[in-house]
Subunit: 511 residues, 2 copies
């Protein structure tokens, strides 16, 4: 595929600028061609205005038409062939298996929303016929369904070049709802983004959708982001990334003359609780599982387990030793970019220097030819010191976890309560643990959007019952999820049709 | 009932202050006993902290327990007997029939949510069993339900002393969800609020609910409001009232270290479109219906029709003449308080002095013994002048409507587009009108939360398919409704339970 390095402003391409940027291969440090030209403010505004125009027709396409469109996008992405995972590997430093897996997930998501549109429940239709004889007042005929909110601005993260960005979950759910999308591409993987953007443009042409249904903008988030969030045509925002950027977009949206909803998925340390009974029975399996979860994707998952609450005593100490050994034998691998790697170093330094924290494993800061390689780390602290030290409650993005010694269930509750809202809380428990800690386990749902028993938080299954969300700062609105079928709810609003003649009713609300 | 004039801080009463206030009868201007003592900041904080404590147990009560609690509240309200509508009439100036009707609606709402809790769908449970053989990855067992968000602060308006305040829709839906409630009572009707507050307290005792599940605070909104919205234990806000106050609470909530959702229902002028065919056939019936809707409750409904789009020409002029005559024969009646009446006067002045506006009916500003009486008014303007004059696009709270002459469907679309988000849009159309304006009618849903055909917007039916919501500034979040069963969605969030042992699953998610 011939990459041009230019934004997609609806059907046309953006203009070259005099200060383009290059993606870099984090494994080698080498720059990647072509140069990428950031969108101008005017181009970003044009993309939003086009989305507003497109909304007028796109919102009225049938669910079947949008389902066909989503499937066509998936087909076009698959049609790119090997060039896509090759570029993915070059831009992310992640292995080919991950690239292929994430492509499968992305296309699977698009097809999941297509299937959802063919089910009866996606827009929650409800018919309540008139009751002329109801006392004290007659009931009018009222019928309810949920409709598209309007154009959505999507901001993807560095860590999922496919599944959370250009054609990822935010875009797929917004398009499914009937909302045009303007994507701000992450500057770590512009090539993958351009390939997927071109696939969406092809699908638009093939399906006869309005040309403004999709735009893709390269360039600086601090320049383009506020333009998208403040544009009158934009009616919602989907964001995945850091807490500081997510919060700044949320603040902008809330300050608009007409505030718009922002679903920002931001920060989580995903506590894992090891109860003593299960730990005694399954220590080796838990070491293996935790090792895999901490190192997966070089620790760069939103659901990376950054905190492990374990008992005091010899069994837990032996567990820690085995885990340290296993993590210590793991090869360094490139993180997504230099900034991420530097953030990881700074995070390890913060952990290491906090009072009461023992360093069980800390790699030399040797970052390889691209300056991005990182190896796992492991720290340990007592609950009392943990509770005193706010810096320990914050996410360190990368392959590191902090063990917290907790003498009893009460202490576990205190530690969980001390950290803020989470995407996930996991716990390892046998039947006796479950029965001895029933009250605590029943309360875990107040801290997170997803609870995992005897498993690890990485590997978010994409399904109708998945929740990728949670109390702030995991997200800016815990009432929604960004993964799974119900991600569409973020971009829908209810409308009641009262006493409508059948011919004016939407098809799904006719008798 | 012996009114004490003191807040309910959970189970105890607030302290007397040295600057109490009295409610006034808007019909007579006479002050009403007893004096009411505003809650202190400390008392408001205590109420929030109690709600936070109560949440720990209340959120885990069964749906059946909460249903019994809601029904008991309804029974206790009915048990107050005639004293309640009597006080309602004294405090609001509204007639006894309205008082009784609103009591019925309030108790009906409580029972509707009780019934909803006994249905399967209220918290959207979904079970997706494991698929160990799924390719490329096994699917874990994942189960979804929606749980209570946390304590809710409720701010009621002056215009619904029962159905939108102490035990109104916000409180009923929050309690149904499992959220404790702290209500800031409106200072126009403290006596009705205290009676209903006492009924809720009785129901708490009778049902053995945690004592912090409900508090009721009297006093200044500008003092108490920020305390409630900023308190760490409070996790959501329900508000009905003016745009300025609603927006200020929204801004406070968005600026918290952990932003919380605010559903504020604020401002709407509820356009009514009269298409020519239907107008020719049914002019007299539309005059009668519009007259009733404009004057209902002295025009003090959120859904009051403040804008009527009608054709140009003789038929429309005759319609306007008949409507003016009918409204002109309507007796003045007391508005809710002096401030509301003064706002109405100022609004009429704003309409009358705007360029191009014809005054068809404007009452003398003779406000009776309480300074609150107001009579209907009617104005007319051409679409071109309307489109130029922003002040005409804003709500005038009271029994007034503005006729806008629109030469064709395109002009109707321009006028509807010029006004901001609405709770409702109504249209009167016969079969030919519907067919000639199919495109416009299909787009009306983009402007409002509820569309009404051949009817009027006042009289919001309380049912599962009702929507009382809409784009800003009708509300601060168009994705929700404050009336009807789905009002509960505002106070729920999804949680996924992955690979849970049956004994740790919530009952509704067991096989």
């Amino acid at each position: 595929m011939n990459l041009k390095g230019l934004s997609f402003i609806g059907p046309r391409r953006g203009q070259p600028t005099d200060k383009p940027f290059h993606a870099a291969n984090p494994a080698s440090g080498k720059g990647l061609e072509p140069p990428y030209h950031g969108a101008t403010v005017e181009e970003a505004e044009e993309a939003c205005a086009l989305a507003g125009e497109a909304f007028r027709t796109f919102r009225r396409t049938t669910p079947a038409e949008r389902a066909a469109f989503l499937r066509r996008i998936a087909d076009e992405i698959e049609g790119i062939g090997d060039a896509l995972p090759q570029r993915y590997v070059e831009e992310s430093g992640l292995p080919a298996g991950r690239a292929n897996g994430e492509r499968g997930r992305t296309c699977g998501q698009l097809r999941m929303f297509a299937a959802a549109l063919e089910s009866d429940g996606w827009n929650r239709p409800l018919i309540e016929p008139a009751q002329p004889d109801r006392e004290p007042l007659p009931k009018p005929d009222t019928r309810l369904r949920y409709i598209a909110l309007g154009p959505v601005a999507v901001f993807g993260p560095a860590n999922f070049p496919l599944a959370f960005t250009v054609a990822g979950g935010d875009t797929a759910s917004a398009l499914a709802a009937g909302c045009p999308v303007v994507v701000k591409a992450h500057s770590s993987h512009p090539g993958v983004s351009e390939m997927v953007g071109a696939a969406i443009r092809k699908a638009i042409d093939a399906c006869g959708m309005h040309e403004g249904v999709f735009s893709l903008l390269f360039g600086s988030g601090s320049k383009i982001g506020p333009v998208l969030v403040n544009h009158p045509a934009v009616k919602a925002v989907g964001f995945t990334g850091s807490q500081s950027v997510g919060r700044s977009l949320f603040d902008l949206a809330a300050a608009r003359p007409d505030p718009i909803p922002v679903f920002a998925e931001m920060s989580s340390i995903n506590p894992v609780i090891l109860f003593p009974g299960r730990l005694a029975e399954e220590a080796d399996a838990i070491v293996d599982g935790l090792y895999g979860s901490v190192t997966l994707g070089v620790g760069q998952f939103c659901t990376n387990p950054g905190l492990v609450l374990l008992p005091e005593g010899a069994a837990a100490d032996a567990f820690a030793e085995k885990l340290a050994a296993k993590l210590g034998a793991h090869d360094a691998a490139p993180m997504l970019n230099r900034g991420t790697c530097e953030g990881y170093d700074a995070g390890l330094e913060r952990l290491a220097k906090t009072s009461g924290v023992e360093t069980l494993l800390r790699p030399e800061p040797e970052h390889g030819p691209g300056g991005c390689h990182a190896a796992p780390a492991l720290f340990r602290v007592g609950a009392a010191d943990f509770l005193k030290a706010d810096p320990l409650h914050e996410e360190v993005f990368g392959p590191v976890t902090l063990l917290v010694r907790c003498s009893d269930a009460d202490t576990v509750r205190k530690v969980i309560t001390a950290v803020s809202g989470q995407l996930t809380v996991s716990f390892h428990a046998n039947a006796s643990d479950v029965s001895a800690n029933a009250d605590l386990i029943a309360d875990l749902e107040t801290f997170a959007g997803r609870l995992v028993c005897n498993g690890f938080p990485t590997g978010v299954d994409v399904s109708a019952s998945m929740v990728h969300g949670g109390p702030y700062p995991a997200t800016t609105d815990s009432r929604f999820t960004s993964v799974g079928t119900r991600a569409i709810d973020r971009f829908l609003r209810p409308v009641c049709y009262q006493s409508f003649p059948p011919e004016a009713l939407p098809p799904e609300l006719r008798d």
